[in-house]
């Protein structure tokens, strides 16, 4: 290859052209494997942030050449303590583009194609082009969405999974000094939805605490953010809080301080205000390096078969010493995404539509964000409630207060649920009469 030089792949070749006792049973040592990595294998990196920058570097130096990276974000000063492909001069530019430029310049022959876009902007035809997908995301919703996409792309023949339709997904996540790496073979091993309960539910303070009995500095900040801002409209009617606008933050900080003083609460600081308003998750270079490296190692194993891939989950924490724990997360028998078992839920005729919506949001098994529900009556589609489109929301809002009986829903009726957490709508069978729990 014209870009290569003598010795360039010496390190990698030892593992591609020699076999060993711990190699994958299917492994055949051959110079062809490097050629496959260089010329054929296409990898998609989702996210060009802390993990994404590391992943691109790691994959490129392991010999992968055809890399795509997708990220909807632009560069901020607070990224520079770990997202090492960005400099002060790049602030404001799309992460995917700057990351791709840097890698393509530094590593000869590497062809990173940037996509300054949301993952939801692309459909199956885009994702089908890749051999392996690696995620370095900070959003659970996005992870769930891509997981749903890859499962939706599986093909079955006589109920037998067509192996060639399986695109392995390697997923990394970090928070402070903790992180995890997992390998998902859609349809074969545990998927994101199978293990949804591993994600802790987001902590929201009860409204009555914020409004009436604040005790912590966070309660004071939430009071200003949730209640005082819409009431006082400090920057004009309809101006939403912009966590990156120092004027907005200063106002919230000062008002939070006032409220804290009123209740003798100590500890409201500018940094805390910023953290609460922007829901900041602490992040360091080291943890991102570790988790991205583990993910890239797994991609290398899957692409080359030089070793068996991780089966299938590794937890990491280096607060006290260095701790790793690898285990096999199990497939959930009735997983809403990767099992073929239809979902059911049991309600009584007197329950209201809102009860179903609340259940979909609050239940640890579903953790939906803004579910919309449609059904089919006499072969015709009927929208019960949709939140994401304003005009439909207004038209269907009334239904929330109606009982299932008033909505003429019957036992065994199929309800179709759409939600930002999945690209495919889910079918639920309504079980009337016996209420859950």
């Amino acid at each position: 290859m014209e870009d290569d030089w003598s010795g360039r792949w010496n390190h990698v070749k030892k593992f591609l052209e020699r076999s060993g006792p711990f190699a994958h049973p299917d492994f055949e040592p051959s110079p062809e494997t490097l050629l496959f990595m260089r010329n054929v294998c296409k990898i998609l990196v989702i996210g060009a942030g802390g993990l994404g920058c590391e992943l691109l570097k790691d994959l490129a130096l392991m010999g992968f050449r055809n890399l795509d990276v997708i990220d909807l974000d632009t560069i901020d000063l607070s990224n520079l303590n770990r997202q090492f492909l960005f400099r002060v001069k790049d602030i404001g530019r799309p992460k995917a583009e700057v990351a791709a430029e840097f890698i393509n310049t530094r590593i000869p022959g590497c062809n990173v194609i940037p996509h300054y876009a949301k993952i939801q902007d692309y459909d199956e035809s885009f994702y089908r082009e890749f051999h392996i997908i690696v995620c370095g995301l900070d959003s659970i919703v996005a992870r769930r969405w891509i997981n749903g996409m890859l499962i939706g792309m599986l093909k079955y023949e006589n109920e037998e999974l067509d192996q060639s339709s399986v695109i392995p997904m390697v997923d990394g996540g970090t928070e402070g000094f903790k992180g995890n790496t997992r390998v998902i073979l859609p349809g074969i091993t545990a998927c994101i939805e199978c293990t949804l309960d591993l994600y802790p539910p987001q902590i929201n303070f009860p409204l009555c605490t914020i409004a009436h009995t604040p005790r912590l500095p966070e309660h004071c900040i939430e009071f200003v953010r949730v209640l005082l801002w819409p009431k006082e409209k400090p920057f004009g009617d309809g101006v939403a809080i912009d966590g990156d606008d120092p004027h907005h933050l200063k106002w919230i900080f000062e008002k939070s301080n006032e409220r804290a003083n009123q209740y003798n609460i100590t500890g409201v600081s500018y940094r805390l205000t910023q953290g609460v308003v922007k829901r900041i998750i602490p992040a360091v270079a080291s943890t991102n390096a570790v988790i991205a490296a583990a993910c890239a190692t797994e991609v290398f194993k899957i692409a080359t078969s030089c070793y068996l891939p991780l089966s299938n989950y590794m937890n990491f924490n280096d607060t006290e010493g260095i701790y790793t724990y690898a285990f096999e997360a199990e497939k959930k028998e009735n997983c809403m995404a990767c099992s073929s078992i239809p979902q059911t839920f049991a309600f009584s005729e007197t329950d209201k539509l809102k009860d179903i919506i609340d259940y979909l949001i609050e239940s640890p098994a579903y953790q939906m964000k803004s579910p919309g529900i449609t059904t089919s009556v006499n072969g015709k589609n009927k929208t019960l409630y949709i939140q994401t489109v304003k005009s439909i929301e207004e038209k269907t809002r009334e239904n929330l207060k109606k009982t299932l009986k008033e909505l003429e829903l019957v036992d065994g009726q199929e309800l179709y649920v759409a939600d930002p957490t999945t690209p495919n709508s889910l079918t639920f069978r309504l079980n009337l009469g016996s209420k859950m729990e």
Partner: protein, 516 residues
């Protein structure tokens, strides 16, 4: 943009995500640290990258090698154009570019030679990191730094195996930031101000709003007093007794006119908290380290550490929650003052008045239950077959589930191989098979020296020869991450470093820490 003219504000923003982990004082420690890297290998430059990004003070690369084709192949901070040039210089230039706050410097010289000609060169650093040094050079370096009290971290990536060894005589940590801790509530041994405050509140005469907004701490305290009255002054000892206490609490909840329990979240919190809130307050061996603290515990503390001074959030009205918080805070302040008086007296007696600030003493008292000491064993002890802690290794040597420790033994055998043949086993494609038997002989000899008669499976020897000392970028990047974090722990004196040998197995994504 605001703040562009003020570097301080800029730094606050730039380092925001990490300041939330180690604070401004941790950052300040980082910004005056001087780190020395020996050999700009892929592992070495990855470690430095993860230290330069968070903003260490300065780094110095010592490396006498010229860049080879394979170096430019696995190292992000060496390029094709740099082949044949000084590895120290090229790496320093590309690393320094990562962060304008950090000063980078290099010395194009072989580390071992420098150690012979000017060993004190290495004593000027906060910590030295060595990658790809042979056993002989590591021994020499570690002996010197050990005597000068400069921490040394040895790192090595060998195929799918990563290795780290920390050499630090004594490292004390006040802010260990434990993940899960029991609250320090003193319900079993309430201090007078707590008793007084709880006694000032009367559950029986409260209206239902106050009743349901009384902090659970107060509720649990009151029911505990009641329990103690009935049980010779003892707190519930086991699961069964704690359940009985829970029943007592349930009976105390308000009911509506129809006799149905009111929704009193604070009582539910009290019931939920019984198991954790009744963990006895205790001191453990290490507090003796701090003399003042020890004296406090033995005197004013009446056997207990200073009160930590924080309480968890709980359903309550603002007023009483804050009052209760003040009770704990004030007591913590008083305890810290007493410790401080003892510290001052001690300082006076050794003529070092003013050495420790009030702020430091307060932080120490607040963390008294989590203070840690790490004492690594020296390399001399590890390399001596009589003093190496074989008992750490032996249980893992025939354990197929957790076999990471086997690779430590193999790496030691590899060092012997190198000493004898001046090359690594499997380095050349045509010698892999012959090297297997040579390495096996080295391993047998090593086990003999240790006086061990156990057998290590040939598979491991074959695997090590397959890897032929290859340095894979992703393994280097993994060790680059963990090594950098351990260095940050040492520099900031926050969080707890590993002690003392770490093996990472990328084949299985597992790892083990051994104290050798």
């Amino acid at each position: 943009m605001e703040g562009k003219d003020n570097t301080n504000v800029d730094k606050n923003n730039k380092y925001d995500r990490q300041l939330r982990l180690w604070g401004d004082h941790g950052q300040a420690a980082l910004e005056i640290a001087r780190v020395c890297l020996i050999n700009a290998t892929a592992t070495g430059t990855e470690i430095l990258k993860n230290l330069i990004l968070p903003g260490i003070g300065s780094f110095t690369v010592v490396d006498g090698h010229k860049v080879l084709g394979e170096d430019a192949g696995n190292n992000f901070f060496l390029t094709k154009d740099s082949i044949g040039k000084s590895r120290a210089k090229v790496a320093t230039d590309l690393l320094a570019e990562l962060n304008e706050d950090v000063n980078g410097d290099f010395l194009e010289e072989d580390a071992e030679k420098l150690l012979d000609s000017n060993p004190d060169f290495f004593s000027q650093f906060s910590i030295v990191v060595a990658t790809n040094l042979c056993e002989r050079a590591i021994s020499k370096l570690s002996n010197h730094l050990w005597s000068k009290n400069v921490p040394l971290l040895v790192c090595r990536c060998y195929g799918f195996i990563g290795y780290m060894r920390l050499l630090i005589k004594e490292h004390t940590v006040v802010e260990s930031h434990p993940d899960n801790t029991h609250e320090d509530l003193r319900l079993d041994r309430p201090f007078p101000a707590l008793v007084q405050y709880c006694d000032s509140l009367h559950l029986e005469t409260m209206n239902s709003k106050d009743h349901s907004h009384t902090p659970w701490l107060v509720i649990l305290f009151k029911y505990l007093q009641e329990w103690k009255k009935q049980h010779n002054g003892e707190v519930p000892k086991d699961y069964k007794e704690r359940n009985l206490l829970k029943e007592m609490l349930k009976k105390g909840m308000h009911r509506n006119e129809e006799g149905i329990l009111e929704n009193e979240e604070n009582f539910e919190e009290a019931i939920r908290s019984i198991n954790t809130a009744l963990v006895p307050s205790k001191s453990s061996a290490f507090w003796i380290m701090a003399r003042a603290l020890k004296d406090f515990v033995e005197n004013e503390g009446e056997g207990s550490l200073p009160v930590r001074g924080t309480i968890p959030d709980m359903t309550a009205d603002s007023e009483r929650y804050i009052q209760l918080q003040q009770v704990y805070r004030k007591k913590a302040g008083e305890d810290a003052t007493k410790v401080s008086q003892r510290v001052q007296k001690l300082l006076q007696s050794i003529g070092k008045v003013g050495l420790i600030s009030e702020h430091e003493i307060k932080t120490f008292c607040r963390n008294a239950a989590f203070v840690r000491v790490v004492r690594c064993r020296s390399l001399v002890e590890e390399y001596d077959s009589k003093s190496i802690k074989l008992q750490e290794l032996i249980p893992h040597l025939d354990d197929e589930e957790q076999d990471d420790a086997v690779f430590y033994v193999l790496l030691r055998a590899v060092d012997r191989f190198y000493e004898e043949y001046n090359a690594y086993p499997g380095w050349y494609n045509d010698q892999v098979e012959t090297d297997v038997s040579k390495l096996k002989a080295c391993l047998t000899k090593l086990l003999q020296d240790w006086g061990l008669s156990l057998k290590i499976k040939d598979d491991y020897i074959h695997e090590i020869c397959r890897s032929g000392a290859a340095e894979l970028h992703t393994v280097s990047a993994f060790i680059g991450g963990v090594a950098a974090q351990e260095i940050i722990k040492v520099i900031t004196r926050q969080f707890v470093p590993f002690n003392n040998t770490y093996i990472y197995n990328a084949m299985k994504q597992t790892s083990i820490t051994l104290e050798l």
